[in-house]
């Protein structure tokens, strides 16, 4: 029994040791924010002396983890649908919109199967989307509905396009990766996902703004944060002129 206690004490000691160091600030952020937030984090740390660590994943995955009690200080989601339930549950402060985004169609440079929007509905085209639960996946389906309603490409456009879906990925960066590797004929990602690294391997096919839902990203501090002051400072930094400049540089639309 005594050895079990010793082990327990050792574990506790290890936990104390790690928390005695300057506690890192943990930010849960949507996959699409990977590049922009990594840069913002470096600038924020250099300015404030904090140590910021990120977990990037589909917003729906991060929300599930937070609901299961994952310890984080700030949550930045790619839509309100994955953020607001946390506010209702008392786990997150009311979200502030810090960025907006639009969708674009991407296709591998190695494939010519998709050149126009109409091609998306052509039988045999392999379309990669994010899962319905992923913000970009839900926005993609909204876009198909808007196109269908406009009637430009026929009343069954949405149905025909969805029949071409060959994979429903867990986050937007996995969607982009498939096209970057030439797997699949087309995909839908955010405009901001077409980073310089991706641009080398993909073509973009613009989605007219009347079919292109403007998505808003909310950010807020989490109730479970052990470092609420630093968490608030990070949110303020993202909303500041400097934070907005970095987001804009990475292809996001400014919040204000």
């Amino acid at each position: 029994m005594r050895s079990a206690f010793t082990l327990f004490a050792l574990c506790l000691g290890a936990a104390c040791l790690s928390s005695a160091h300057a506690a890192p600030l943990t930010i849960f952020a949507a996959s699409s924010l990977t590049d922009a937030f990594t840069e913002i984090g470096q600038k924020f740390d250099a300015q404030t002396g904090n140590k910021t660590v990120f977990q990037f994943a589909g917003s729906q995955a991060l929300r599930t983890q937070l609901e299961q009690g994952a310890g984080a200080d700030v949550f930045a989601s790619a839509n309100a649908a994955q953020y607001d339930p946390l506010v209702k549950a008392g786990r997150a402060a009311t979200g502030q919109t810090f960025a907006r985004n639009r969708l674009t169609v991407i296709a591998p440079k190695s494939s010519t199967a998709v050149k126009t929007l109409a091609d998306l509905a052509r039988p045999g085209v392999r379309l990669v989307l994010a899962d319905k639960a992923v913000p970009v996946g839900s926005a993609s389906r909204t876009a198909f509905d808007l196109i269908t309603k406009a009637g430009t490409y026929g009343a069954d456009f949405s149905k025909r396009v969805l029949a071409n879906v060959v994979s429903e990925e867990p986050n937007v960066r996995q969607v982009a990766l498939k096209i970057q590797l030439g797997q699949g004929d087309a995909a839908i990602v955010y405009v901001s996902d077409v980073t310089p690294a991706l641009k080398k391997d993909v073509r973009t096919i613009g989605l007219p703004s009347r079919f292109n839902p403007l998505v808003s990203y909310p950010i807020g501090t989490l109730a479970a944060s052990k470092n609420p002051a630093a968490a608030r400072a990070f949110v303020a930094y993202v909303l500041s002129a400097e934070g907005q400049r970095v987001l804009n540089k990475w292809g996001f639309i400014r919040a204000k």
Partner: protein
């Protein structure tokens, strides 16, 4: 004593919690929901097919490796074991670069009208790649475990090549072969990384049990819990089977 109790509790508790949550009141309706049924169907089909290919191609491979010696024999044996220690996601990248739509072999295959990308066939390839080495390894051990003179004696008594294999070699090694099959099956049902990278994830097509659990966790927890509970029960069954097989091997 107390230390081992801590470890035993640590190893058993999560599984028990999972079973308790998974086998809750709405087990049956969730079990019959399309998400769960589709995942079970995809997994049974793809792992079954992968297993069939493993036996058909793996048995002669293992036999040759245990009977013939040639330059680079040890190296080949080691390389064939590589997928066992290789992280599955690395296997996925390798398969994608080789058999993907713009891969080394994928492109010629596409031109020939064979499209593997995002198909159930891609799942089978991912499972075959990651699980066949378990079978080959165990089967090789089986073929090496008995004296080849027994085969020679059968031949002297007038049995033909096929006859020797079916009547002598196979009965002697079947516990090993079955054990290899069980190991390979367990591995392929748990496959995640290579499948999601190489075959993608689409319900009813390529979304196996593991992928369905991952996907369901992000929206509706219940199918994930039910599928997880099924996997626990199944994994336990496989272990029992393994015990019976290894006991039979020792007895024989």
């Amino acid at each position: 004593m107390a230390l081992s109790a801590v470890l035993v509790a640590f190893l058993l508790l999560p599984t028990l919690v999972l079973l308790a949550r998974g086998l809750s009141a709405d087990f049956l309706p969730t079990l019959l929901s399309p998400v769960v049924v589709d995942a079970l169907r995809v997994s049974v089909w793809t792992s079954g097919l992968s297993l069939l290919l493993t036996v058909l191609l793996g048995t002669p491979t293992a036999w040759l490796l245990s009977r013939r010696r040639f330059p680079g024999h040890a190296l080949l044996e080691t390389l064939l074991d590589l997928p066992i220690t290789l992280p599955p996601v690395v296997a996925g990248v390798a398969l994608l670069l080789t058999f993907g739509q713009s891969g080394v072999l994928g492109r010629p295959l596409e031109l020939a009208g064979i499209s593997l990308a995002f198909s159930p066939a891609a799942v089978v390839l991912a499972l075959l790649f990651t699980s066949a080495p378990y079978y080959i390894r165990t089967a090789r051990a089986g073929f090496s475990a008995y004296d080849p003179d027994i085969e020679a004696a059968a031949r002297v008594d007038g049995a033909g090549g096929a006859g020797v294999f079916w009547r002598v070699t196979l009965p002697l090694t079947s516990p090993f072969l079955l054990e290899g099959l069980v190991l390979a099956w367990a591995r392929s049902l748990g496959e995640f990384g290579a499948t999601i990278l190489f075959a993608g994830s689409l319900q009813g097509q390529t979304r196996t049990i593991s992928l369905a659990i991952y996907s369901a966790l992000e929206s509706d927890l219940r199918p994930a819990l039910v599928l997880s509970a099924i996997m626990v029960a199944f994994a336990f069954m496989l272990l029992l089977l393994l015990r019976v097989l290894t006991a039979g091997r020792r007895g024989g």
